[in-house]
């Protein structure tokens, strides 16, 4: 089973005085859905880019099952905020793209891709062109594409940020179903507090200047959804509301601290 570990990670852009991230320790194992929540500038995206291997940390170690992460690779699948699908391929070819790169024969990769499309409820869309899809459908294709390559962990960069509220809720529920069925560890970043509280098994709250973890919460609302409880009843549960308000208060207290710092 996959285990992703970050030990004392710091990151700094060349020429910048302050680091973007300082001393981050995280671990992501099986059955986990780790959500990083924070305002813009708190280094969420940098954190994901480090794990994906798009950028290298200035210090610290990232390992997946004990092997150090060096550059991007198929064992860490990424779902992007903008769909990042290839418009010259149809939906099926996009989902099968990772397998094509790995040299899997056509018949085999297409049957796997169809399986993944069924998993995200898009079984009838295999031969559609990318520009004929809605925003939510594109994100589902992006999720299916990442899953088809059978990564050991799944990284999601504000995957529902550009969707309307209604579609976003559907996508959150779909993600929980897929997570439950595939049993892959998921690392997701978001700036949506309700989304973070609903999805996370572990929620880390990031604060800016420099990006650091200020709070960690163990939550079980996503697991309750997976166990069969309807999303609406979870989200109206007083415990859910209490947790949400607590996280909201923490985010706001940081923000007012930050503005005080700036005005001082």
């Amino acid at each position: 089973m996959a285990l992703l570990q970050l030990e004392r990670i710091s990151a700094q852009y060349p020429g910048a005085a302050e680091p973007v991230l300082a001393d981050i320790n995280l671990s992501l194992g099986p059955q986990q859905l780790l959500v990083a929540l924070g305002p813009s500038g708190s280094g969420k995206t940098s954190l994901l880019n480090l794990i994906a291997g798009f950028v290298a940390p200035s210090s610290g170690r990232i390992t997946l099952d004990g092997v150090p992460v060096q550059g991007p690779g198929a064992e860490r699948g990424v779902v992007f905020q903008d769909d990042a699908l290839l418009p010259w391929q149809d939906v099926l070819a996009n989902v099968a793209f990772g397998l094509e790169l790995a040299g899997v024969p056509r018949a085999k990769r297409e049957s796997k891709a169809r399986e993944m499309l069924a998993l995200v409820d898009l079984a009838d869309f295999a031969s559609r062109r990318i520009w004929q899809l809605s925003g939510g459908q594109k994100q589902r294709v992006g999720l299916a594409r990442a899953l088809a390559a059978d990564p050991r962990v799944l990284l999601m960069d504000e995957p529902f940020g550009a969707l309307d509220a209604f579609t976003r809720e559907q996508m959150q529920e779909l993600l929980l179903q897929v997570w439950q069925r595939t049993a892959k560890p998921v690392f997701l970043i978001t700036h949506d507090i309700e989304e973070a509280v609903f999805l996370a098994t572990e929620l880390v709250l990031l604060a800016p200047n420099p990006g650091q973890i200020v709070e960690r919460l163990q939550l079980d609302f996503g697991q309750r959804y997976s166990a069969g409880e309807p999303a609406r009843s979870i989200k109206s549960d007083p415990r859910f509301i209490e947790t949400r308000e607590h996280v909201l208060a923490r985010v706001f207290s940081q923000r007012s601290a930050a503005t005080r710092q700036e005005s001082a």
């Binding site: 690779g73 290839l86 793209f97 790169l101």
Partner: protein
């Protein structure tokens, strides 16, 4: 309920406005057709009324009958088809050579810092020089055979394709590159599956521009040193004041250029249907 009615009403309104659009584009085409028809009519009228000597402007009938004569018997030992074939063969060879070499070089310029450092100044140096300015040098080096003409056209087509390809490669969406990398793409797979298709719209635009430049260069080159080809046909006819062949040659040259442009536009629509659909 009322919130559901809004999109339906909006859709209905949209479907009502769509029929007017094709009607408008049709009328634009009609204006163009009428312009051409008027031009032909004026040409016919001034020649039929004998306001202009046939030496300066032959009548449309004379040009048409000359076209028939050229197709069946020929001019300067070759039929119109042979002149046309000679020109098309030259530009075809040059275009094929330019596509095979300019696209990889354009990718190298757009993708690799060192390749850009070496090749970019060379291309930018020779690109603004009119091809006819270095034709004498090419003739000194390669003689007046087919090679120098094909080489001249090749050089004219090469630069636009290489530059357009490099631009296309440099503007590839970085998210798509990262997406492919995180699916395990190697450097070569990135070029083959992401960079090349992303740059294809720009490459085709480069080919369109290159073909336009190449065609005018070809005709100009044939005016100077050739024994066949459309440019040669026009030039030699002019020396003997055979004006109807000159007019015919110019019309054929224009028609070919138009057909090439239209063909490439159709190819662009077929090969890159996603272009301009990015949302």
């Amino acid at each position: 309920m009322s919130s559901l009615d809004v999109p339906v009403a909006a859709k209905r309104a949209a479907s009502q406005t769509t029929p007017s659009k094709p009607r408008r584009s049709l009328s634009t085409r009609w204006i163009s057709a009428l312009t051409l028809a008027t031009l032909l009519l004026v040409w016919w009228a001034v020649t039929a009324a004998e306001w202009i000597e046939p030496l300066f402007l032959p009548s449309p009938e004379a040009v048409l009958s000359k076209a028939w004569l050229l197709l069946t018997q020929g001019y300067m030992e070759s039929t119109l088809w042979q002149h046309l074939g000679a020109s098309l063969q030259r530009i075809g060879l040059a275009l094929a050579a330019a596509i095979v070499t300019a696209i990889p070089i354009g990718i190298a310029i757009g993708h690799n810092r060192i390749a850009r450092g070496i090749l970019d100044p060379l291309i930018e140096f020779y690109r603004p020089i009119p091809p006819l300015a270095y034709l004498p040098l090419i003739v000194i080096w390669c003689g007046i055979g087919e090679l120098s003409k094909v080489l001249l056209i090749y050089l004219a087509i090469f630069a636009p394709i290489a530059i357009a390809t490099a631009t296309g490669v440099r503007t590839v969406d970085p998210t798509k590159l990262r997406a492919a990398q995180s699916l395990g793409a190697t450097r070569w797979q990135l070029i083959r599956h992401v960079i090349l298709p992303s740059a294809l719209p720009d490459i085709l635009t480069g080919v369109r521009i290159g073909l336009g430049v190449g065609w005018s260069t070809l005709v100009a080159a044939e005016l100077i040193a050739a024994t066949s080809g459309l440019g040669f046909m026009v030039q030699s006819a002019a020396q003997f004041l055979v004006t109807d062949v000159v007019v015919l040659g110019i019309l054929v040259i224009a028609l070919i250029a138009f057909a090439l442009e239209m063909g490439l536009r159709a190819l662009q629509r077929k090969l890159v249907p996603w272009h301009g659909q990015s949302h």
